[in-house]
Assembly symmetry: C2
DNA sequence: AGAATAAAAGTTTTCAATACTTTTATTTTT
DNA sequence: AAAAATAAAAGTATTGAAAACTTTTATTCT
């Protein structure tokens, strides 16, 4: 732990994928920021920050959320995704990214940015090979390569168009994030925290839909209920003032 | 990315959980080293190293293997586990651990240590609450706390006995590792790489046994075969010179 | 040759996932 | 106010995989 080791170490930053849900469009969203410094100046990217000595990585991830959204956020949940260390991931100095995911309830308004010229919510969709994220003007997508080696080999050679591609290896990070969420849908669907404290089965199916690459009405409500009754707790209330039979209201069961 | 940021960053090290299999005892093993520097001097620990600027984290993890085992290792496989960043995890300076797992075929002989006074294989067992690792003299176990917060709260207060506890938060890291392996047993059992290129169903069940906390003969061979026939490929050969009906030989199916 | 051993192979039972149908509770329209 | 439309709950039937258990086969040991 001698001081001479310090300079030999790579830089560390925290990347946070911030998820939310728009109740008017019924769409899952992520937050992207437009970079206004080098490298990848002018590119859209996942929010990032350098880690400070006194804070834990989780705290740094939450700091990113506060900078973009402002105010204390009750009901949000942050979890680790993975650490990205590939040598090809940054053009200059080596930088590791500790990636986190935060699930925000509902879809908070965004504040004026810090270190970014713009910040917007991008709503999630899906294609055959990947997931898509669009703000109405531009659409970005997750990496298509299936292995890390394949992704970085292509990535290192490419000269990316900033209107079509995210900065750094963020398309890869986003792919890993979506895959992780999809894998946990059956046993620990933390992504549902974007719905807030309570939700209906329809709400939950709206969130599942893009991850499963299936339209909501193809996800059978009855079967969905049966296969999730250990994970969801019936709150005893129902929705009101909506066409059709009132829907029961659920919350995530405590682990 | 100014130089002033460097000193504000925590230290990074690589921790590697190195798994192997002893074909004479039919037991899964991990490598532990006895530390001979501060902090935790004299404690048994998972192999660790500082990360060098030029290498990727995976390469650093492999360097640890080479230092302990020597020689090039064909058929070994390294994968990322998680990054440990809790503020309470190191007593002095903040140090992050990027944890990896390496699955070595069979059980290589150990070389004289680098930066450790001893290095030994510890064979895996299980108890009600945890997994155990013993070299015949001492037995260590994985953390019993079920959440990170609970673990570090206890850990920060405790004054650990070096004959009963591992250095740092390594009991927690080891718990996360065992849980991860158990969860992947049904769809990506990379842990079977400790058996080498080919194995029988009995071999595979011997590896599964401690993770499932079930004696081998309670894991039904017939059912085991059926539920793994997509994951295993029959190599067409059988074992020889052993009592009983010859066993078919399998390999891991390519993902 | 016969016993012991160990694994493959087969059979039955159970349970959960999936597909599909009916009923119920509300709003909207006439 | 009755009828239609809507949307969700609730129920039923089918399928398939996991688990429990039994039988058969191939080898070594005595």
């Amino acid at each position: 732990m001698a001081a001479s080791n310090i300079l030999e170490q790579p830089f560390i930053n925290i990347t946070n994928i911030i998820w939310s849900f728009d109740h008017t469009t019924n769409r899952v969203n992520i937050l992207l920021v437009k970079r206004d410094n080098q490298p990848y100046n002018g590119y859209w990217a996942l929010p990032e920050t350098f880690m400070r000595f006194q804070e834990s990585a989780d705290e740094a991830a939450l700091r990113l959320v506060k900078e973009k959204i402002g105010m204390a956020l009750s009901g949000s949940h942050t979890e680790q995704l993975a650490t990205f260390t590939n040598k090809l991931r940054t053009p200059g100095d080596r930088t590791l990214s500790l990636a986190y995911m935060t699930f925000l309830p509902d879809k908070p308004q965004l504040k004026a940015g810090y270190g970014a010229s713009d910040a917007r919510w991008f709503s999630m969709g899906y294609a055959d090979n990947c997931y898509t994220f669009s703000d109405g003007q531009q659409t970005f997508q997750t990496a298509i390569s299936s292995t890390e080696t394949m992704f970085y080999a292509k990535f290192a050679k490419a000269n990316l168009d900033p209107t079509k591609h995210l900065a750094f290896d963020h398309e890869w990070i986003l792919k890993i994030a979506c895959d992780r969420i999809r894998n946990k849908l059956d046993y620990q669907p933390n992504i549902l925290l974007v719905l807030g404290a309570k939700f209906t089965l329809k709400d939950a199916r709206m969130v599942y839909s893009p991850f499963l690459k299936t339209p909501v009405n193809k996800i059978d409500n009855s079967n969905f209920k049966k296969s999730h009754n250990k994970l969801f707790t019936d709150m005893g209330t129902t929705t009101e003032n909506r066409p059709g039979r009132p829907a029961r209201v659920y919350k995530l069961a405590a682990l």
